[in-house]
Symmetry: D2
Subunit: 379 residues, 4 copies
């Protein structure tokens, strides 16, 4: 089958690879019809992670069940399904508690928790930027889509990762209706966090970024754009909140945060969030931080550490919740919101490309070229 393969830093290529197939009685095989490029694909694309060449990328996948293993009872060939980026078993302690991003079974290394498709450090599972995808524990992992699956395919595919991930960030921040919320980072995940806050009844949502195309997308859904290249974002948040600061904060940037002058500073958004959020406020963090980052410019960062404002954080009585989204914990409800016409996450899609043009999509998205906010591929 054809698939997009990682060949080394900033080298991805579409080529023939062995067909994905059923390997265990609980597997399902999905013919991929839509698969996105994710911001976390860029960490791998840029060579910052330790991904070995040869991996098929792609963890935002949607398609049609092609074949099922002998133990599968819920699914039939022909079902349209969305694939959560995390692979869960459904019966370990974490999966049972809804913490499917930290499955204790799927990853071959027993010291690890969590597995994903086409993802550095998350197991050997090939991704879905390909014609077919093998899905372990099919009954547990696959989300069936209703009769408007094709018509709203660009919306439903967002259920694989970024819509639940943005939503997760608001839950980690314990956002409540009526709250004011500030989101740092207006990439696809940050935009989804802001959108999730709006859907859940935030009174005011602010988003901090400096790319005009992203800030414009935020404005389209009623979110207040804060351009941090035009002044201290904390000061701007103070103005927006009559000096009260935001009730809750969302970190959607991660370890590769840059200041407006282009210098990497992995502690910047966390410390700004502590400053932007009120006493007793909560902060959700879905931007990725790495346990080790040997290529980082800073010595602390190489060990996965940041110079964190612990004193201010403690004194303010704040809370922080972190980690990859447990997609399955949210995707049914978000599917229903899309189906009933109450959510339309596809508003951020800027480009739909055939799989063959994926390498060009990676290049533009990685360069943050103006207007390349979200790239969707159709194998």
């Amino acid at each position: 089958m054809k698939a997009l393969v990682y060949d080394g830093p900033r080298e991805v290529v579409v080529k023939d690879v062995p067909d994905a197939k059923i390997e265990h009685p609980t597997d399902a095989l999905v013919k991929i019809t839509t698969t996105n490029i994710c911001g976390s694909d860029l960490h791998m694309y840029e060579g910052r992670t330790d991904l070995d060449p040869g991996m098929v990328l792609g963890h935002e996948n949607l398609g049609i069940v092609a074949e099922v293993g002998s133990a599968v009872v819920k699914l039939s060939p022909g079902d349209r399904v969305c694939v959560p980026f995390n692979i869960g078993c459904g019966f370990c302690r974490n999966c049972e508690e809804g913490l499917t991003a930290f499955c204790l079974t799927a990853h071959p290394d027993p010291k690890m928790a969590g597995a994903a498709y086409g993802f550095a450090g998350m197991g050997p599972f090939w991704g879905g930027q390909a014609e077919y995808l093998r899905v372990p524990f099919g009954d547990f992992n696959l989300l069936r889509l209703p009769e408007d699956a094709q018509e709203k395919e660009a919306d439903y595919v967002m259920l694989s990762d970024i819509f639940p991930t943005g939503w997760h960030c608001t839950r980690l921040a314990d956002m409540q209706p009526g709250d004011s919320v500030v989101v740092y980072g207006a990439g696809p995940v940050g935009l989804m966090a802001a959108y999730s806050a709006m859907i859940q009844g935030a009174s005011k949502v602010m988003i901090v970024d400096r790319h005009p195309d992203r800030l414009r997308l935020a404005e389209q859904i009623g979110v207040i754009p804060i351009d941090d290249s035009k002044g201290d974002p904390v000061e701007q948040i103070l103005e927006q909140t009559r000096g009260r600061r935001a009730d809750k904060g969302c970190e959607c940037v991660g370890y590769q945060a840059h200041d407006p002058q282009g210098h990497e500073n992995s502690a910047m958004t966390m410390n700004r969030l502590v400053d932007s959020v009120r006493f007793t406020g909560h902060i959700g963090v879905v931007g990725i931080f790495l346990p080790q980052d040997p290529n980082a410019p800073d010595k602390l960062e190489q060990k996965g550490r940041i110079a964190f404002d612990m004193g201010k954080f403690w004194f303010k009585g704040q809370k922080v919740g972190t980690g990859q989204a447990n997609v399955k914990h949210y995707n049914r409800q978000l599917r229903d919101l899309i189906h009933e016409g109450r959510a339309k996450p596809s508003w951020i899609v800027s480009h739909e490309l055939p799989l063959d043009e994926a390498p060009s999509g990676y290049q533009h998205f990685d360069a943050r070229d103006d207007g390349w906010t979200k790239v969707v591929l159709h194998p």
Copy 2:
């Protein structure tokens, strides 16, 4: 009246000061019968904070209502009461949500949240290591005690701070029945955190310290002592949990953490907790961290920062909750547990002294002299 006054680093003196009195219609005046020396009094005693000489110390207070202001309706002279260390108004947004440690009214500086008696940075309110204490918003702040108030005075006085603070730590860590819990720090607050975990049905509670007297007290309530002077505590926790690490963790040490060799390292316990707690586990932090600490040995610490293992923390999907305890959120239930004979926090008391001997109590407690685990004063 007689009171214990801070005169400068390691200088406290018992002397005559102007009488505490009713200043506002909602005030109550309490004749103090028992008042403790707290571990956080030592931060002030040692001169590490910016407390001005002349302050009356003491925020762990219990006594008898002597007089009430004209607006007070719940209390009458003669009522035996315990005084939460935080001063709340009862009607600001934070107090209404139970976040009385972050009252927006009581502290005279409108940018601050939270006030306390005899406490650096928490307002001008005199403490209760004295004959009398003025309690603002008396109806809201004072907890009435039942008919066994005198008999169990050494238990009920713990409701003013350390029992709720230890309990708060387990709630910040979202401890659930059946969980395994590790507590760093076996001072009075850490012992109360361990005790709180036991009362709430933890399956296994471990506590890390190196003072034999403290570890012995922990053992008395069924807690497993871990001596970090005898080996890496994380390794010992792995052994105790069959390699699973603890479900939840409690930080009861704070910014003045020392390694067994005596070097201060403010990041040590936080990073060890990230390591000691499993994927998706929660960590509660009631050990104090300061927004600025100009006298700290380390440059980061002077700015209130620590070199935090953010990458590992995020990768494990952990959560951290922090801050002073909202005493009123817990003190009724804990009072009822004491009254019904289900809790007896006074087991940690090592010394009961008259107020006049308080300076000697400070000296021994500050020196961590063997056996000086908790000092109770009787004015």
Copy 3:
């Protein structure tokens, strides 16, 4: 001052009564500018309750602080405020837990929990369908309004009761984003429950009633009207939910439920809700039920009992939450939603009348005359 006084069944009259005034240091006196007629005023108006003649009615009040007692610190004359219908003290166990509808201090009868203005069985407190209102525990009870208070007065007055009451119903039902919700009763409270569900991100909200004017108002905010005079509402809900029934249900009718033929049947809506909601679903009940109802047509009902489908309820593993709304638990956040333009509850107002015309307003509203959905009075 002028006030609307209950004179007996279906007899209300506007007349001069003694001026409301400060009686305790914590009181505030409010000059009323807007006050609504509530559906629960009709229970009293109809003489179904044991209200004594002479009571000033009105528990949905908004106005300007005219005077404050000596202990009041938060409020100043001239502040525009909204008055929650429940009177809380702020320091009893229930108020501290946010259960201000069940205050243990305000009601003179120590066996009762909860007090309100101008309300049968809720204490001797006069209502606000008058020129002035005495508000006990002013600092605790009054909600300050922002600079758009006058401009949005018809929205902010809804914070006194029906908007928080409708919202409370969704919280009692534990409504989650993405849920389908059915509301029984499209009176003002039912409409607010439906509106609250929409704001919090329900995927689909259905409302059951038979009055065309009410169902039209529901449609205006995207809610699906279900006319129970045109067929079994449970069947209609099954159709709307592909046979799955609603995830959550709201009871906004109460003990005086009638079937479409006009017969009173106090068990009807509860049993229909059990049938309308899925296995494990939750039901919130803010429609009023009375502990005794001597004038009820049915013998069970006279004792405050209903013939409840306990077997089906238990078998389905459902939950029910009940009771008057703890207004203060919601009114800050709802105020912020109004202020930021994210909620506009005044869309249900049908009539604004001067106080003198209140008796006519009662008559039309009680008759459920077409188009009389919500009456607002201006003293």
Copy 4:
């Protein structure tokens, strides 16, 4: 294999039946070593339900994995396991939310939610009062036991039903540490509810019954016995709580409640609980109520209805949660409590019998013969 088979009202017989075997790739086959007689077996034994003769009874099962299907990955022959009484699939909406008592897959009737072994109305699955038991979805359903499995077999078997069911009742009642709790019914489930409340830190637990042997067992764990044959239990609860009533209540009796004179009254415990619990208190109901009960003496009860004190319940702002326990939601934590020596639920076992003597065990337990509190069978 040998099994206990229901032959008709009060007729159970141990006889040879076809061997249980693997029927689906996800099945596991368990050799039963311990299996209990449950109070709900008695509803079937007495012929009150519509169970067809020929069913193998027994839903409280523990044993050793004998064989696994081809899709099973977690389990191996020889593993010692406890079997939850509910059969869940692990991937339907309810199982994913932890509501395994309401699985949407396992029961063959698509309108039903929930399946169980050897249980009227819960599907065709044979019970475990037999030599072998087929367990569908083995990886999901079976709980592995640690190295002390044999030594503590009488404790671990309680994880199959009554310990989690009692615990569930306290969770449905939202019991919090420090609460006072009243449990109606001191059968095995009621005793486990009381025990669960003690473990979770209740300040005072009261239990209402009239059988001296049961009340004695309650006293052994520090629970206050209330004998309702010696006076109104509500009055006794008022005395125990200084007139405050209990904070939370547990219903562990169900539809076959009898008054001390022996008359069945299915509404009695629910209405007494409403009366016994304070304003805003919660009530958990795990006693079984049936949607229809054609053989009931009362006309309302035949339709599954009770004459419920809705008015008082609403006026007090109480909440009720109901339904069978989601065993898997609790059994890991309770297993860990047993393993660490913090819980020992076997204290209620009165008789251990070989399977052949099961009919005699049914007879004595059904007769509530003195001292027959819990019967454990060993096939």
